[in-house]
Symmetry: C2
């Protein structure tokens, strides 16, 4: 195993002492970078996901160009439904579309269960290749959608405004829903285990749509399957991060799901959350991504607010509260990263 030179991110995930706060940002391998767009102009999104050389190249871009403290493998959470047999298309400026969405237990039964080393080998190849090319500079993060978030896309057939179909599905066909969630939990666990086996130093689970559920439904349809996934991941010390957007009402329960780190969106207050659950887990976040539209003085002020809100000590990974937006000036992200690297020293 290559020794990782800058291991601040992993140390902070484990709440070990660090000399400064590490930073990476969600969607850092993405459209805001001209160097990414130059590749994206030549290949469609899914081809990029499926070509390890391209995935590795864009994964490493923000490490080289922005100086982030971790790389996150370029991929998409919907590679799992696609591997299970659903036709996936990324529609420009509209988002993902999954054809023939799941609406019944028969649909669920038609889905293939998968072996990540076969159907998703291209992701694992991208992980190993990126790992070799990173050559120990920074840790590499793997990721997957939570069972609930994957099921939401599979039932809605894409993004949604009102989430009518997924809600009809769970309220009218709860057995089919639980069957699918259970299947997805097994697949997500084996997929994340395979990513770790292939070289990922940490994994993040995205529960993007947990926040559309009431507290009781969240516990039943999302949290229990996240807990199952985490309990089944084969790992030797690699941290697990759970990012559950908008789940302010269940943070205490989330802190007991087995994750080492909880990712927070920008509507939370790091200080309050640290007081509530910060002795159990590390916290990741949570600058409002739109702050990167601001002048530098505002970026500095708001970055300081985030650092001060967490306060002194380890257990904080700086990040945005959601993915970086595509029309952000990369100079502003570079400035944020520099500010965090410099100003966070005094908090350690």
């Amino acid at each position: 195993m290559t020794q990782i030179k800058n291991n601040l991110f992993i140390k902070a995930c484990k709440k070990e002492p660090v000399e400064r706060t590490p930073i990476w940002v969600m969607r850092q391998a993405g459209r805001y970078l001209p160097e990414y767009r130059a590749i994206r102009d030549k290949y469609d999104f899914i081809t990029m996901c499926k070509t390890p050389e391209l995935a590795a190249e864009v994964t490493i871009q923000p490490v080289d160009l922005i100086g982030v403290d971790a790389a996150i493998i370029f991929s998409d959470i919907l590679v799992i439904p696609e591997a299970m047999g659903m036709k996936l298309e990324m529609i420009e400026s509209k988002g993902p579309k999954l054809y023939n969405p799941i609406r019944s237990v028969d649909h669920v039964n038609e889905l293939k269960t998968i072996d990540p080393y076969k159907e998703l080998k291209y992701v694992l190849d991208a992980v190993s290749l990126t790992k070799r090319q990173l050559n120990g500079r920074v840790p590499l993060i793997g990721f997957a959608g939570s069972p609930w978030t994957l099921m939401t896309y599979m039932v809605e057939g894409g993004g949604s405004k009102n989430f009518s179909e997924i809600k009809k599905f769970i309220y009218n066909q709860p057995d089919a829903a639980h069957k699918l969630l259970d299947l997805l939990a097994d697949i997500v666990a084996s997929y994340l285990s395979a990513k770790i086996e292939s070289g990922a130093n940490a994994v993040q689970i995205f529960d993007t749509w947990g926040g559309i559920l009431s507290p009781d439904d969240f516990a039943q349809f999302s949290l229990q399957y996240i807990t199952k996934v985490i309990s089944k991941i084969k790992r030797s010390g690699e941290p697990v991060i759970i990012f559950a957007k908008g789940v302010h009402y269940k943070l205490d329960q989330l802190a007991s799901c087995g994750a080492d780190v909880i990712g927070l969106d920008w509507t939370m207050n790091l200080n309050s959350v640290r007081n509530m659950i910060g002795n159990k887990v590390a916290l990741q976040g949570n600058l409002d991504p739109t702050i990167l539209y601001s002048p530098k003085e505002k970026i500095l002020k708001e970055a300081m607010n985030v650092l001060e809100s967490f306060g002194k000590g380890s257990g904080h990974i700086f990040n945005l509260g959601h993915g970086i937006l595509p029309d952000v000036n990369p100079e502003n992200l570079k400035y944020l990263v520099d500010v965090v690297k410099k100003e966070s020293v005094r908090f350690h």
Copy 2:
């Protein structure tokens, strides 16, 4: 003044004793009702808003057909930007569009200030007419968008996914933003005062987009203007309700903005919120609107959960946690209303 026969809603807003919990639902005058669609098939949405006879008719439909305990005047929050000079269009299944969105202080200066008795007389006429036709059966609610929510639409030019434009506006042109918010606060206050003068028994302020702001920005850009609006509304005992979707992190501050009632979305827990702020204000909400897609047993169970979560005593107005969805079966809403009327007796 006509005496109101069923005054449970107003009493609950004031935390006075009631024999059962009152119920109404957001967007109750809407597309889920075939009787509404029959009218909407003949007239476009804006014409319906601007024709007092049509607005009154659809406002009263859910009182007759569903048996709700309050009527809310059929209108739209965007009548204010339109009256200020912006061109408004409602695009079928896409939502509202405001042309030439506000992007600079010059744009702000070009906006007209308005006298609700002139530019929005059609709304006030609809209120008086509805009031006469209701003939004291149930109270009538008037409403407006919060200054922040109106400004969000005016700057984005409609709905939004990432809210990039409004965030750029407040971070890069904060003086222009505060100027517009201040102007909107004056207009909203005079508009709601005029609605009360015309016969509204209560008013609700919708801060639909407060939840996209970080806690600090919410205080600065939304809450202070809501507080200003409420302090300026001319009223003699008519309750003010504030519905601020997704503002879980500022409920304690919201409880001090001068509103009598706080409306909660379905991700909050009534019991926790009542323990935190329920001695200051009444609470309205908060059944997940998608529960109305469920079988009756589930609707019953979830309605009981909401009633039990609030617990015994006055100060609860039953509502959905967001507007009723257009493809809900009206029978399911009728069933919910019946359940709440019958089952809530034991909580009083």
